[in-house]
Structures are given as structure tokens and as C-alpha cells.
Symmetry: C3
Subunit: 115 residues, 3 copies
């Protein structure tokens, strides 16, 4: 069986799981008291940190699913997203509205290639 690498395992979840050169993880803002724009900026920063941690980069994103607490925030998502995604290396993206826990305004599920 291909090796499974788990980073940041708590009793509830792992921060990242890597298997067969694919990393999967979920990001919500570390500080959910921020508004949606603030939370999205945190999430992009956190994804960046995770990518560095696993030896990957923004160029290696395969798929991102974005759950937004309110679709009225799609405009700000797209503004930040377009500036963040590397030209020519964009992942596939789904984006739907879903009620999220606590004050979370956005929850991302990320799949990325790893070496």
C-alpha cells in the first residue's frame, strides 16, 4: 500500500494528508472574527504556507472547492483569487454556497500535486 503521510494530526483531523503524490487538505481562516475578505486573505496565506510545508507551490494546485457562507462574497473571492492564482497554472474550481460552522465565511477543500 502506498505510504500515507499525515501532517498536523489532531484527534479530529489531519491538517494535510498526502498519498500517491496527491495532497488533500481543508482550510478555514485561523481568525474567523475577520469579515469574508479578511478570512479569504488568511486562507490564501494559509494555503501558501501549507504548499511550502509539503514542498509544493501554487503551480501544483489541482482542484479547489470553495464553500462560501454567502454568494454575495463571490465578487471579492474572484478579485483575490484572480490575483493569487498563477497564470497558466490555475486549478479547477467549484464554488457553491453552504452554511458553515461558527463564524466561518469560507471553507476551502484543496487537492495539490506533491513530489
Amino acid at each position: 500500500m502506498a505510504k500515507i503521510t499525515r501532517i498536523g494530526s489532531s484527534e479530529r483531523w489531519a491538517d494535510v494528508v498526502i498519498h500517491a503524490n496527491v495532497a488533500r487538505w481543508v482550510e478555514v481562516a485561523s481568525d474567523p472574527q475577520a469579515d469574508c475578505e479578511g478570512q479569504l486573505k488568511q486562507i490564501f496565506h494559509q494555503i501558501e504556507e501549507t504548499l511550502q510545508q509539503i514542498g509544493s507551490s501554487r503551480n501544483d494546485l489541482l482542484q479547489v472547492t470553495v464553500y462560501l457562507a454567502s454568494l454575495t462574497d463571490v465578487a471579492i473571492l474572484n478579485l483575490l483569487w484572480d490575483a493569487w492564482v498563477p497564470r497558466g497554472h490555475a486549478p479547477v474550481r467549484a464554488c457553491v454556497q453552504a452554511c458553515l460552522q461558527g463564524n466561518y465565511q469560507a471553507e476551502f477543500m484543496i487537492t495539490a500535486a506533491t513530489g
Copy 2:
């Protein structure tokens, strides 16, 4: 690192991302002015086109997640789906209701095997 192939890259997303013999993509109807049945027919047709483009077929679908703007459309989804999915080669499928952008009535996330 395994090669990543991106098809139809815009500044926001790729139409399809292929990595380690797995293709991932998202489909919404090209013409969202159609009703849900019309949008679903478009989506099935578009998936077909994408499968051909990547050298795969309906037999290679691994997983489909269906977001419906209204679960009242599950009946028409199932009717079209059952006629479309090849007997003996059905993917796994999740289907939940979620508010979608604009007039989209359905958004599909697809995972398929590729050669």
C-alpha cells in the same frame, strides 16, 4: 513530480486538470438561461465532450458530485442520469442542494480516469 496537464486555462481556472492518470473538472451549463432539465442535458453533453478531449469515455468516470440549486430537480436529474450512465460502469455519486451562482441550476464536479 508527476506531470500536471491543464486544458483550457483561463486566469481563474482550468477547464480540466490531469495528474497521475486522474482528470478533475467542473461543469456548469454553457447556457444558464435554460431550465434545470435543459442545463442538465447541456452538462451531460459537455462532460461527453470533455471525456473525448482527454481520451476517456463515460466508462472511465470515477466520482461525480452534483450540486443542485433545488432538490425538487432530483427526479429529472435521475431520469437523465440513469439514461446516460453506462450500465456496469457507474461512478460513485453524491448529490446535495446548494445555492449556485447566477442562474445555474446544477454544478457538477467530476473525477475520471485517463490513460
Copy 3:
């Protein structure tokens, strides 16, 4: 093309699809007349059965997406989840609220490694 193994294929979906050492499947409670706690217990039991069927175990879970009909049930989800997930081998987990079909209170999408 890597072999695709489908278990429990109906005309609508497969119970499990395995490809390139990754198994994907969806679980809802066999008896949706139970309340959310009852449905969650069924789902954990059913996942267990599926893992055994494919020669994997709870230690091999990669990613779980939980759709809850009501986020008021997150507390009971976490209680059951924390007791069920093997320490040091937790998957990544996303959890959002989404309207589900019929009386389903929870729908799980699971990705697991297989030998």
C-alpha cells in the same frame, strides 16, 4: 489505463470505485428514519464494512466530506467522530450544511487508500 474496480454497481451508481490505489465512495444511512445520531452511527458502521470489503481500515482514510442537513448536529457528529477516528491516522475533513434528499440527515463522501 489503470484498472477501475467498481463494487456494487447499480444503474445509478457504484457503491465504491477503486482506481490507482484510491477508493472513493458515498455513504448515507441505510435506515433514514433514524434521527441524525442514529444515522451517523449507521454511516460509521457502513464505512467500516466498506473498508473491510476493500481490504482497508480506518487508518487508510484520506479525506471525508460531511454534508449535514443541520449544523446543529455538528456536536453529535464530533462526539461520534472523535471516538471513531483512529488517533494519529485522522483524515482531512470538511463539514458544511446542505439540504439532503428525503430524510437523510448526513451524507459522507469518502476517499481512502487501498492496497
